[in-house]
Structure formats: structure tokens, C-alpha cells
Amino acid sequence: MEQTSRQRTGRILLIVGRIVLAGIFLAAAIGKLKPLAGMPWTVASVKTSLAMFAMGVDSFQILPAWAVSPLAHFLPFFEIVLAIWLLSGVGLRISSLLSTLAICVFIYAMFSAWHRGLAINCGCFGQGGAPIGLWDLTRDAVLFLPLSLAILIGSILVSRKKHAESTATVGAQHTVA
């Protein structure tokens, strides 16, 4: 009985965690796609926002010039897909693993820029904001990464539990048969 209650709490926390993480990725994507001040939501204005985001990516001075624009045009849509994937709960181990890897890459990029003394905005939630500092690194490393890791571990545990249950059921069916 107690085990069931703990499992239920764990599942609820997993759902809440997925919603929060999906919300973070959605907010990040919308921030990057959002038209610049005074521009309406059109395809052209979204292209301008993506071009602005590409400048932000370029300012990190990590990627070669040819890779900057493709990544800037891919990342916001990847974040949207990841958010929807996390919310759906389908293949949660893979989606949470991708989320964890993505957050690790973001932390690395920010730490690298901060370490090299680049006074740039992180561009995580669109343009603007203060230059990358300890707050950005702490936010990603202490809040987002553990959240994503917790979902990954939770999804693995749930998956194992389901697997064990299904094995036990099949075993019982074989015994009955």
C-alpha cells in the first residue's frame, strides 16, 4: 500500500517535472522566434528574429561561421519538438536524455563564454538581458540540469518497473496456462 502511494507520488512528480521542463523549452523557443520590437508575427519577422539569434550564437565564438546559421535556425524548432515530446510522455527516456544533453551543451557554451571574459547575453530566452554571469550558469546547472536528470532517472525507473510488471504478468499467464 505504502509502495503504491510512493509510486503514485513519484509518477505525479514526474508529470509535473515534464510539464515544467517542457514549459522551459517552449519559453526558450518562443523567446527566440518572437518578432523584434514593432514587428508583427509574420514569416519574414520570424526570419529576422532567427537572424538576430544567429548573431547571438555567433557572438559565443565557438562554432565555425558555416555552422552558426544552420544551428540558429534549427535550435528553436528542436526546443519546440522536445517540449511536445516531453509533454506526450512517449519515449520519455529518449526525450529526457536529449533534454539533459541539450542543457549540458548550453552550460558548456555559457561557461566557455564567461571563462573567456566575453560580455555577451546568453540569448537563452531571446535577445536582451544582462551579460552571462553566475546567475545564468547557476540557473542551468542547479535548476534545469537536475530537473532534466530527475526526469531521465524517473523515466528509467518507471520503464524498469513496467518491464518487471509485464514480465511478471507474462510469467503468471504462462503458469496459469
Binding site: 519577422s45 537572424a51 566575453l118
Partner: protein
């Protein structure tokens, strides 16, 4: 019969008349001398206490630190520091292409703002040279010379030879005449509650222009160089900082122009 005094009696007396006149002239001279002495004394003491005497009275025209025409659809406000290595990369790899291509085509108008950071000892002095050159219409030449030779003049702060090479001798003479009185500490970015001219005094005629740029930077929360503010048809649409390569910057400008 006539009780009125006869003034003609005095007039008849030449000695008495001259005496009055002398007394009158003497009194007037005395009064003039006294007034002049009273007014001159405080001025002299004021000058004596004000050392060194200011020579900021040198009249200069406003420095023109822009590229292109005001009617361009895109306006860029740039905040840069001549001693900042990233600003040099930005100038060499991005700004030059932007000026030669988009500014020349009338698509972009650039407004330069000096933002000499306090971490760079010669950046303020470099901004002075650039502004002095801008007063004679040689800002572009000075800016190019400063960035092209950044590694050389940042070693010892000797900027003049590089500015001299960048422009006709007659123009350099005018620039050097402006810079003659720029011997105090140059204005630099500190914090927004400190007057940028606090340390520099008022002897250098271009310092107020640098201070004005710094104040504008404070207003826009500029906290790094280079910082660019982008306007499209007069409306501010974006603000960013640090190095951006020309292909990526061009892509951004093209997307705005296609709106």
C-alpha cells in the same frame, strides 16, 4: 530789482571757472580709478587661484562620427572602445565590409559613439584623437588607423604618428592643434552616477563630445564593447554586443531590409 544771482559774474572770472572744471575732472578721474581698481582686484585674485588657465576657448566644429546618409532604412548606433581587441576584430572583419557595401549603397547609416572603458589606459586618449579628427572630417581615416595599429599604440600610448599617417598634413596640423591641450586624464566609462568629465577637467575641447557619448551609453545600459543598437525606419528593434562576423551580420541586415 532782480534778486536772481548773476552767473555771468563768474563767467567773467576766468580763474574761478577753470578751478571748478579742474575739480570736476579730478573727481571724475578719482572715481573712475577707484571703480576700476575695485572691479579689477577680485578678477585678478580669481585668475590667480585658477591654475592652469583654461584654453578650451579654442573653437571647433562638432565632430562628425557617422557613416552614410540619415535617410537610410537601417540605422546602427555603435558603442566601441579603440583599445578593445574584439572591437578591432569587429571593425576589421565586419564594419569595413558594412561601410564599403551597405553604407555606400545607402542601406545603412552608422552613428559612432565613443565608449572608452576604464580597463584600457589609452582608450580615452584614442577617442580624443578620433574626435579631433572628426572635427576636420577625417573620422573614418582616424578610426581605421587606430584599429589597424592597435597593437602598436597600445604598447606606449603614442597615438599621434598613426593619426598623422592617416590624413593630409594640413588636416593633421588642425587635429594636433586641438589635441595640444588634451594632456589631462581622458574621459572614461566608470559608473553612471559619476560625471565622465570628473577627472579630465575642461581643457580638452573634444572631451564634452566623448562624455556625451558615454552618457548615451549609460542611458542604453551598454555594458560591453562593441555594442550595436539597430533601428529600422526610426524604431529601435534590437540591441546586441560582442563580435559578429560579416556573413551573419549581413544576413540579419538583409532580413530587415526584406521586411
Amino acid at each position: 530789482m532782480n534778486s536772481e544771482p548773476d552767473f555771468r559774474k563768474d563767467a567773467v572770472n576766468p580763474i574761478g571757472h577753470r578751478g571748478w572744471k579742474r575739480m570736476l575732472y579730478g573727481a571724475a578721474a578719482l572715481a573712475f580709478f577707484a571703480v576700476a581698481t575695485l572691479h579689477a582686484a577680485p578678477q585678478a585674485s580669481h585668475v590667480a587661484h585658477k591654475a592652469p588657465p583654461t584654453k578650451a576657448a579654442i573653437s571647433i566644429s562638432d565632430p562628425v562620427k557617422t557613416y552614410g546618409t540619415k535617410g537610410a532604412p537601417i540605422t546602427l548606433e555603435l558603442f566601441t572602445d579603440y583599445e578593445c581587441p574584439i572591437c578591432r576584430s569587429f571593425y576589421e572583419n565586419t564594419l569595413r565590409s558594412l561601410i564599403n557595401d551597405y553604407v555606400a549603397a545607402g542601406k545603412v547609416y552608422i552613428i559612432h559613439h565613443d565608449y572608452p572603458l576604464s580597463m584600457h589606459p589609452y582608450s580615452g586618449q584614442a577617442a580624443r584623437w578620433a574626435d579631433a579628427a572628426a572635427t576636420v572630417g577625417e573620422f573614418g581615416a582616424a578610426e581605421g588607423a587606430l584599429y589597424d595599429n592597435q597593437n602598436k599604440w597600445t604598447a606606449n600610448g603614442n597615438i599621434a604618428p598613426f593619426i598623422a599617417q592617416a590624413m593630409p598634413h594640413s588636416d593633421f596640423e588642425k587635429v594636433a592643434a586641438i589635441m595640444k591641450d588634451c594632456t589631462t586624464a581622458a574621459p572614461q566609462v566608470t559608473t553612471s552616477n559619476v560625471d565622465p568629465l570628473a577627472k579630465s577637467g575642461h581643457s580638452c575641447p573634444v572631451d564634452p563630445f566623448i562624455a556625451k557619448d558615454i552618457e548615451i551609453g549609460y542611458k542604453y545600459n551598454v555594458n560591453a564593447t562593441p555594442t550595436y543598437i539597430v533601428y529600422h525606419n526610426g524604431q529601435k528593434i534590437a540591441q546586441g554586443s560582442s563580435y559578429v562576423s560579416w556573413p551573419i551580420f549581413r544576413q540579419f541586415l538583409d532580413s530587415i531590409l526584406s521586411q
